[in-house]
């Protein structure tokens, strides 16, 4: 290598440095994905031949459409609720009130635990014999209980929000804190009361932060696997449906599973691309 001109040598070194990363990316992501796609097009159990029947049957069946609808519903509901929760929280957390360090660390907790355990705990708390219902029974007896959230869509959405709202909260908070305080002061001096400042100045300016955080929440909610597996009951979003195809059937329905997986991946990418377009459009403004 010493005999190569130095620019060539530079380029070669860079390539070598990037090699492990590329190996991981292509070997552990792209190639498996391709395998998944190929498998999705093969008849079950065969090694040759092409067919689209699994795509067709899934997309046209009532079951398939229901599953897709459920996945989107959960993801969108989670994202909306996360935004509704995150904005007020961010506005509160940016002031240095007593104990703000502690309260800022609290939303970090769902990020560092596996969804499985979060789901477990939430099932225990909000189950028909859990503390939440005990609370209703003892403290607010006028609410007819018990309120059962286990294995319902409401419960599932609640669990999703619990796990994934921190993404939205953290980006919103950091955008909020990055705002020039002079701008809010200027708005006040111009005569705007706190609500008007919020509506006309603060919210428009933190919108990019809210949006980028909500993308993360959406993505996680869309692809969530362990929680619906454990707490979804009869409600199976796409990810669980994939797994069931392999788990419940002997021999496993690999091709069907792969086709659902590909559909899921495509939808995720499509949504992301659309969302990024919207975000970029906003930026140009």
């Amino acid at each position: 290598m010493r005999f190569l001109p130095s620019r060539r040598r530079e380029g070669l070194t860079t390539l070598l440095l990037l090699l492990p990363g590329f190996a991981v990316f292509f070997g552990l992501f792209v190639y498996p994905f391709i395998i998944t796609i190929i498998q999705s097009l093969r008849p079950e159990g065969e090694t040759t031949g092409w067919t689209l029947e699994y795509y067709g049957s899934f997309l046209s069946s009532a079951h398939g459409q229901q599953v897709i609808g459920l996945t989107f519903f959960l993801a969108i509901a989670t994202t909306l609720l996360s935004v509704l929760l995150s904005v007020p929280l961010a506005l509160i957390l940016r002031r240095k009130i007593r104990g703000h360090r502690f309260f800022r660390a609290v939303p970090l907790i769902p990020l560092v635990i596996p969804g499985l355990i979060g789901a477990l705990g939430l099932l225990l708390v909000f189950g028909s014999r859990g503390w939440f219902n005990l609370f209703l029974r003892d403290v607010l007896p006028f609410i007819h209980g018990p309120v059962a959230v286990d294995y319902t869509i409401t419960g599932l959405t609640l669990f999703y929000v619990w796990l994934y709202f921190p993404y939205t909260l953290l980006t919103t908070l950091s955008t909020l804190e990055g705002l020039d305080p002079g701008i809010e002061e200027a708005a006040q001096v111009s005569g705007a009361n706190p609500w008007k400042v919020l509506r006309h100045v603060v919210l428009p300016l933190i919108m990019p932060g809210i949006l980028s955080g909500s993308v993360l929440t959406f993505m996680n909610a869309f692809g969530a696997f362990s929680i619906p597996l454990v707490a979804g009951g009869n409600y199976r979003p796409l990810s669980v449906d994939v797994y069931k195809q392999i788990q419940l059937f002997v021999p496993a329905h690999w091709s069907q599973a792969c086709s659902i997986a590909v559909i899921m991946g495509v939808m995720q990418v499509a949504f992301l691309t659309f969302y990024m377009r919207v975000l970029r459009g906003r930026k140009v403004r």
Binding site: G182, A186, Q188, V189, S190, G191, H200, V201, L205, R285
Partner: protein, 356 residues
């Protein structure tokens, strides 16, 4: 209608152990442009923020046009404010920025359009009404800030170091524009700056602050010619200080001894013989005379130690008998090389006594 447009009555503000404002008393009449001048940390920004309402004084009251506004939130005080870093709304155009206060007040559309256009025309930004702040230069942004502050015709305009983020030449131009606008619109204005040149050029009165207190208030001339303390004398303009002792007291003047030389000072201060004071004179007020010039009151022999050529001025260090070094500044017309023997005159009317 009150006699004073803005009043601070004994306002005090503490940040933990730090006393940012120490019982400030300030009265600003209608139509005056008063500057709060001082080094960083002197409390001038805190005092302004008490007027705007962004800070609440721990003690004392704030009055605007005779009304006690100490408990009134900022958005109800009807003030105009221009910020150091402009604080324009980045997500709104120039037009929308200036329209914002009117939109908040729910004025009818036609009137809003008229007023915004007028305001923009006043600051000569009407052509750029559709631009966004990030597309504007610093000077342009500051003019938009001015327009936004003036469009709802507040009676008071506050300016918090508005020119600090602009380059030197622009600063001078904008200084003039601001003064013109404020005079033209008969506004009362409070200006905060650490730049004494700006303060002297713009203000009707200057309040020099140090460590939370107002050291001296007066017209630029009073502050410059008759500083009441070493701090003010040193902060404004160039100064020569030297310790002196009062030797004789007359009706309107005083004789002091400095290193064996007798200097007459025109002053009405009450001093006693034997009192230790500080004599001070501005380097630009010292006269340089030829060696052969006739002797006279406050005329002393001197020798030029060194000089620095500054273009418009020449800065001399001269030494008088008794090792008394004085700094003298003249216009560039007189060039006296180092080592020359000359005479200097310290005119009595330009000498000052500071007794502290």
């Amino acid at each position: 209608m009150s006699e004073w447009m803005i009043e601070l009555k004994g306002t005090t503000k503490r940040y933990g152990m730090l006393l940012a404002n120490d019982h400030i008393d300030l009265r600003i009449p209608r139509g005056e442009l008063l500057t709060l001048l001082g080094p960083s940390g002197c409390g001038k920004t805190t005092a302004m923020r008490c007027i705007t309402g962004h800070q609440r004084p721990d003690e004392g009251r704030v009055l605007i046009d005779g009304r006690d506004v100490t408990d009134l939130p900022t958005h109800k005080r009807d003030l105009g404010m221009v910020f150091q870093n402009f604080a324009l709304f980045p997500h709104m155009t120039v037009y929308e920025n200036v329209d914002f206060p009117l939109m908040i007040r729910s004025l009818p559309h036609e009137e809003r359009r008229q007023r915004v256009t007028d305001a923009l025309r006043l600051v000569r930004m009407d052509e750029l009404a559709d631009r966004y702040p990030r597309q504007l230069s610093g000077g342009q942004q500051q003019r938009v800030g001015l327009a936004r502050a003036l469009v709802y015709r507040p009676s008071v305009l506050l300016l918090d170091e508005p020119l600090s983020n602009l380059d030197a030449k622009l600063r001078e131009e904008m200084r003039f524009e601001i003064k013109e606008l404020v005079t033209q619109l008969h506004m009362t204005a409070v200006y905060v700056t650490h730049d004494q040149g700006e303060a002297l050029a713009l203000s009707d009165r200057v309040a020099v602050m140090k460590a939370g207190r107002i050291q001296q208030i007066g017209t630029p001339r009073e502050i410059f010619e008759q500083p009441n303390s070493l701090f003010v004398a040193d902060f404004i303009g160039l100064s020569d200080f030297i310790k002196a002792r009062v030797e004789a007291v007359e009706t309107k003047s005083v004789w002091v001894a400095v290193k064996g030389l007798r200097v007459r000072v025109q002053t009405e201060a009450l001093l006693r013989v034997g009192q230790e004071v500080t004599l001070f004179i501005r380097p630009t007020r010292v006269d340089l005379l030829e060696q052969g010039a006739p002797a006279g009151e406050n005329v002393f022999a001197a020798r030029v130690l060194k000089l620095t050529y500054l273009g418009d001025n020449i800065d001399y260090r001269v030494v008088l008998p008794g090792d008394w070094e004085i700094r003298v500044q003249t216009n560039g017309q007189q060039y006296i090389p180092a080592g020359s023997s000359i005479k200097v005159r310290l005119p009595a009317k330009f000498c000052h006594i500071i007794a502290e």
